[in-house]
């Protein structure tokens, strides 16, 4: 294998790689053994702590309702944020300065403040001045925070998606006499949907991760807050953290894999322009994929 950094290994390099591999394997084994010992020392490996996860009770009472809360908030946020983001993204491409500039300011503003601030603010505002039942308020607040942040992130995705299309598409549309609005709705948008699909799916990972913030800070009933009640009931803090983390990893890894499968498929596809906005694209990276209200970059 040739890469930028090194050539295909010769006999000496191969011998060196084997030595490094063995050293690293020993190091890994020591680390694993150390973690295992630490867990054992504190009695975290006792079957009694793990046994609850084999019963239907732990799943039906705590984990599954929690997961449902997480997915519900994430899905609602995405469904509301996507059209809003599309409108903001298109408005930011407007030829009129009086549309482009204020929308740009709004998008930049919501992108630069943490989701947590938005959630706390929405929660307090609803508590004071909106007629929402107090058991529904956390959901409203979480979704509001996530929508405000992610709509502005998706606005950038939509803008980058439209700009990524070949210029000839717009020119051809104008040449056959379409107006600006028609060009956008019947030429550019339909094509850019496939371009930005992978980036949108990746943003879903960020949203799923950020719902956990609502669980801890404004007691929205989702997976991480379900863990708190579960651990209080079975007294298994460490196992419950591990199980909940694994559930998050499975959900998000599925979404990530789906996004990269989609990206590969769209890149190879013959029916599209072959332009695909990767979540790692320099133009939008950092807005996408970092998660946690700044998600993570």
């Amino acid at each position: 294998m040739t890469s930028v950094l090194y050539d295909a290994p010769g006999p000496r390099a191969r011998r060196r790689n084997v030595i490094f591999s063995v050293l690293f394997a020993v190091l890994m084994a020591l680390l694993l053994w150390w973690v295992w010992q630490a867990l054992d020392d504190k009695g975290q490996l006792k079957w009694a702590l793990w046994q609850p996860f084999t019963t239907a009770d732990a799943w039906n009472t705590y984990l599954l309702p929690g997961l449902w809360g997480t997915l519900k908030a994430a899905a609602l946020s995405m469904v509301i944020a996507l059209p809003l983001g599309a409108v903001l993204g298109i408005a930011r491409l407007s030829d009129h300065r009086w549309v482009r500039v204020p929308v740009g300011a709004v998008v930049e503003f919501f992108r630069s403040i943490p989701v947590l601030l938005l959630m706390l603010f929405a929660n307090e505002l609803y508590a004071q001045s909106a007629n929402i039942a107090s058991e529904d308020r956390p959901l409203y607040a979480v979704v509001t925070g996530l929508v405000l942040y992610n709509a502005s992130v998706l606005a950038e995705v939509v803008r980058a998606g439209i700009l990524a299309l070949p210029k000839g598409q717009t020119e051809a549309a104008y040449a056959i006499g379409l107006r600006k609005g028609q060009t956008m709705t019947s030429i550019l948008l339909p094509q850019s949907v496939t371009v930005m699909l992978p980036a949108i799916v990746s943003q879903l990972v960020v949203i799923v991760k950020d719902t956990a913030l609502g669980g801890v800070m404004i007691s929205y009933a989702e997976l991480l807050s379900a863990r708190t009640t579960l651990a209080a009931n079975y007294a298994n803090v460490i196992p419950s953290f591990i199980v909940v983390a694994v559930i998050f990893i499975i959900v998000n890894f599925t979404l990530t894999s789906f996004a990269s499968w989609l990206e590969g498929r769209l890149r190879r596809g013959k029916k599209t322009t072959g332009v695909v906005l990767s979540p790692n694209d320099a133009t939008i990276a950092g807005t996408v994929a970092t998660g946690a209200g700044g998600g993570v970059a």
Partner: protein, 222 residues
């Protein structure tokens, strides 16, 4: 109009946010570089470890990591970061540890994407004129890779600044914690939120503009 600010140390809270950001940024730069070196190394086992670390950490909410550092690491394993009798210092250090562990994965990906922008032909040409591995790295690959990594790294830094608010989950006295207290106690919810939002705009916007400008300036035109 702003007399509700009396009695609250808003600047102090933002100073904690800045400290969290700077310390975590330095830490994650070190750990992330190490991980990136593993992910591009010729040793399959190291590459595997880097990939597994990045994929696990990227898919866990930061909130879980920070909460675990307090409820798991500190309370059960007794990892008190050398501050077992000072809850505030301990929380701050645990938050930095968690932020470093989380953002190192993103720093690693930013650096790796930088290395990936360097065309293989550059390295082949370097080897053709007789440069060794070290020379190739130092003179050809890393200068180009670093320039391409500036913008992704800037994005990680901005996200990190915003993510320090998650430390509120374990009660670190930073901006989000103070905002939560203030909107519960004071009546001017909108004004308070505006003050804190403005604080974060001041922290993130100039960083983003400057590093974005720098990144564009440094970018290798291909």
């Amino acid at each position: 109009m702003f007399d509700f600010l009396q009695g609250y140390d808003v600047l102090g809270a933002f100073w904690t946010t800045v400290k969290l950001t700077v310390l975590s940024a330095l830490g994650s730069l070190v750990l992330g570089t190490l991980l990136a070196a593993m992910r591009v190394s010729p040793v399959p086992l190291m590459r595997g470890f880097g990939t597994v670390y990045v994929n696990i950490v990227r898919n866990i909410p930061l909130t879980i990591i920070i909460l675990f550092s307090s409820l798991g690491l500190a309370d059960i394993f007794g990892v008190t970061m050398g501050a077992s009798n000072n809850f505030d210092v301990q929380g701050f250090r645990l938050a930095v540890l968690s932020l470093v562990a989380y953002h190192a994965a993103f720093v690693c990906e930013a650096l790796r994407s930088g290395v990936n922008t360097v065309p293989v032909g550059q390295a082949e040409a370097a080897r053709a004129i007789g440069l060794g591995f070290g020379q190739n790295l130092r003179l050809i690959v890393l200068p180009q890779a670093f320039r391409a990594a500036v913008i992704p790294l800037a994005n990680v830094l901005i996200a990190l600044t915003k993510n320090t608010t998650v430390a509120a989950a374990i009660g670190v006295a930073e901006a989000a914690t103070l905002m939560r207290t203030m909107i519960e106690n004071e009546a001017q919810t909108v004004l308070i939120a505006a003050v804190f939002a403005f604080g974060f705009v001041v922290l993130t916007l100039p960083t983003g503009l400057f590093l974005g400008w720098l990144g564009k300036r440094l970018a290798v035109k291909r």
